[in-house]
């Protein structure tokens, strides 16, 4: 028994020693950047691919000699999809780890919660969440950028498509989270511009099990199309309910629909669902001369061979954020102010996974409606609509 304990202690000592000696193989001081991602909790479907992406990219960079000889150290904090935790994580990264920039958080709420901290600490933040309020008003968001497309751009893409199809009355169904709410507001606000009336505005909770009631109500209100705005299991349940009810009106999904997993889960119920999706999802279907194509191809195949799953649109947002920060670091070195200035002024015609970015002092996101393709589900696969 005593020997067993001794052996156990020995193993622990060796393992700890190994962990601690692994670092310090570089001679130059490492560059530290932080990432706050919702790895667990309600928004974990965002945080998971984002975390994987950041880890993968950091590994790639360090394998090829780091940034100008400096190893890159990425410190990932799990915000547990909770604003308080995000605040704590931001404080930790800035005060304790002294990072040069932060990537994330994954959700709009968490991003909003840490904006005052970032501004006070004069540290650049590249959020991977979608809410327009993250970067607007831009004069108050001096240190803040984001890589996820605006919800309004996705709405524009959908309404454009509807206008061409002659759809005039729509029913909205959205999830009661920040993501669903932002989309819902954009849908209601922008409808008149396209001559569209919103005849029903329904909602459901993130863990609801059945949305038949809401969909039936939308149909009976005389809608010619249903728009669902959600991420997570809800969008699959809505699709299944819509299919079972055989309503004969089309179902549109938000840009959160872009995951093969959804097609798998919904099965044949997904046939005919239309959504505005980033090119990441349909990278193999866009023409070869498109500037985003090589980036998308490398990212998706790297990710899939490493993690045996697809990165999805959200992983792509982290890719863009990470690459912007790394490029800035490479060009201007470890200076927070210069990194910020570089991102604002030098990210122009910059192809990323989410679209072609054009940052400026007026727009800290740099993407518009052109970042999306309208995509329909056909035979269990995506197909780009012309």
């Amino acid at each position: 028994m005593k020997n067993l304990v001794k052996a156990f202690l020995l193993i622990i000592t060796i393992v700890t020693a190994l962990i601690f000696t692994q670092k310090d193989s570089y001679c130059k001081e490492p560059y530290k950047i932080g990432a706050i991602l919702s790895v667990t909790g309600a928004a974990s479907f965002l945080g998971e691919p984002e975390k994987n992406t950041v880890l993968m990219l950091a590994e790639q960079i360090n394998k090829t000699g780091g940034i100008n000889g400096h190893p890159l150290e990425v410190i990932i904090e799990d915000s547990k999809s909770d604003e308080t935790q995000a605040v704590l994580a931001a404080k930790k990264l800035i005060e304790k780890d002294k990072v040069l920039a932060i990537i994330g958080p994954s959700t709009t709420g968490e991003s909003m919660a840490i904006i005052p901290i970032m501004t006070q600490a004069k540290t650049p933040l590249v959020s991977v969440a979608a809410g327009a309020s993250i970067t607007q008003p831009v004069q108050e968001r001096y240190w803040i950028f984001k890589t996820a497309q605006y919800d309004t751009s996705a709405v524009e893409a959908i309404y454009n498509h509807m206008k061409n199809k002659g759809i005039k009355k729509v029913g909205i169904i959205s999830i009661t989270t920040a993501f669903g709410d932002a989309g819902r507001k954009a849908l209601i606000e922008m409808a008149p511009k396209f001559g569209i009336t919103v005849v029903a505005d329904e909602r459901y909770g993130p863990k609801d099990t059945d949305m038949t009631t809401q969909i039936v109500k939308i149909k009976s209100a005389g809608a010619q199309a249903i728009i669902n705005w959600s991420v997570g299991p809800g969008q699959v349940i809505v699709t299944k309910n819509w299919h079972a009810l055989k309503l004969a009106i089309p179902l549109y999904q938000s840009h959160g629909w872009g995951s093969k997993k959804n097609l798998e889960l919904a099965g044949k119920a997904a046939e005919g669902v239309i959504a505005p999706l980033g090119r990441l999802v349909v990278w193999d279907k866009i023409p070869d001369k498109h500037p985003q194509k090589p980036i998308l191809k490398k990212y998706v195949s790297d990710y899939e061979s490493k993690y045996k799953s697809e990165p999805g649109t959200f992983g792509g947002h982290a890719y863009d954020a990470f690459m912007m920060v790394v490029e800035a670091l490479k060009k201007v070195g470890p200076d927070k102010k210069k990194i910020r200035d570089y991102i604002e002024t030098n990210i122009k015609n910059w192809p990323g996974t989410g679209g072609i970015f054009n940052m400026s002092s007026k727009d800290h996101c740099g993407l518009d409606m052109k970042a999306f393709e309208m995509v329909i589900v056909k035979n269990g696969d995506w197909e780009i609509l012309k």
Binding site: E48, T213, P233
Partner: protein
């Protein structure tokens, strides 16, 4: 009319799961007076394990079903032996409830570790077109869910009233001391109650997954709703949980249909509060001072 019927069917579907979770609460409540807030995790466990055996291991349906129920039973058993039994003698109600919360977090952690955060689903029990009743549409899986719930209710009724073990459990719920004097092994009864409610929860999960998908963190919501269902009907009354579950499901669906879907949970809760204020022990419960069972 068609619209009303459609709302009704939706309410029945969600109500069925609430009822099954509620029944699970009651069985454990009757033997120990505690509320097992890990009850919802067994629904998740049922759905995810069924997926694992059926889709990942490609086992036949009946084998997967048996294995899933076996897993749930073992974990239910483990919960009772490891976390409840050590506390039972002291009889601290609050502590026991807290340990069920802690245990539910533990299960959630294990499920996340094993299955990740993605939702899972498998095909409905029977393939086929949805059925139309007076213009309202109901999927075959919905019928399965409702049918299985009714089946469980009947089975439990027979168990508690016709079998020796069931009667012993019922006796325990009425008076522990007397039951012990009659030679009933109370410890075994408590163990059995955890086992049965774990299995019932898992059955609910297996049935609902093709409709609503299943992911590792769905359990907390189900526990809360099931708890409300059990309370609404009157704790410890088996028909109470059934009526409570279906009432809650209907309230949600009808509120969503006729008032507004954003407030469906709020209005359902408000009506529940109102019922409690009028009838402080639920619809079927008798107003008596809640006394702690002594072991």
């Amino acid at each position: 009319m068609t619209l009303f019927l459609q709302f009704l069917f939706a309410g029945l579907t969600t109500g069925s799961v609430y009822a099954l979770v509620g029944i699970g609460f009651n069985i454990i409540y009757n033997s120990t007076s505690i509320i097992n807030l890990a009850q919802g995790e067994f629904v998740v466990l049922g759905g995810l394990m069924m997926w694992f055996f059926l889709e990942s291991l490609q086992l036949p349906f009946s084998v997967s079903l048996c294995l899933t129920l076996l897993t749930a039973a073992i974990i239910g058993l483990a919960q009772e032996r490891l976390t409840i039994k050590p506390l039972l003698k002291k009889g601290d109600l609050l502590l026991m409830i807290m340990v069920t919360i802690a245990f539910s977090i533990l299960i959630r952690g294990i499920l996340m570790f094993k299955f990740g955060k993605d939702p899972y689903t498998y095909s409905p029990f029977t393939e086929g077109e949805p059925i139309e009743i007076f213009g309202a549409i109901i999927t075959q899986q919905t019928l399965w869910v409702i049918g299985i719930t009714v089946f469980c209710i009947v089975l439990l009724y027979l168990f508690f009233n016709k079998t020796m073990t069931g009667r012993a459990m019922k006796a325990c719920s009425l008076d522990v001391k007397a039951a012990r004097l009659m030679g009933i092994n109370v410890s075994k009864v408590v163990m059995l109650s955890f086992l049965i409610s774990a299995v019932i929860g898992a059955i609910g999960g297996i049935a609902i997954t093709p409709i609503s998908l299943m992911e590792y963190d769905k359990g907390a919501m189900l526990s809360v709703k099931g708890f409300c269902a059990a309370i609404l009907g009157g704790l410890g009354k088996s028909r109470g949980a059934v009526v409570g579950g279906f009432t809650l499901g209907m309230l949600e669906s009808l509120t969503a249909g006729y008032i507004h879907s954003g407030f469906k949970d709020a209005i359902a809760l408000l009506i529940m509060l109102f019922i409690l204020f009028v009838k402080p022990a639920g619809i079927f419960g008798k107003t008596e001072i809640l006394r702690l069972r002594k072991f």
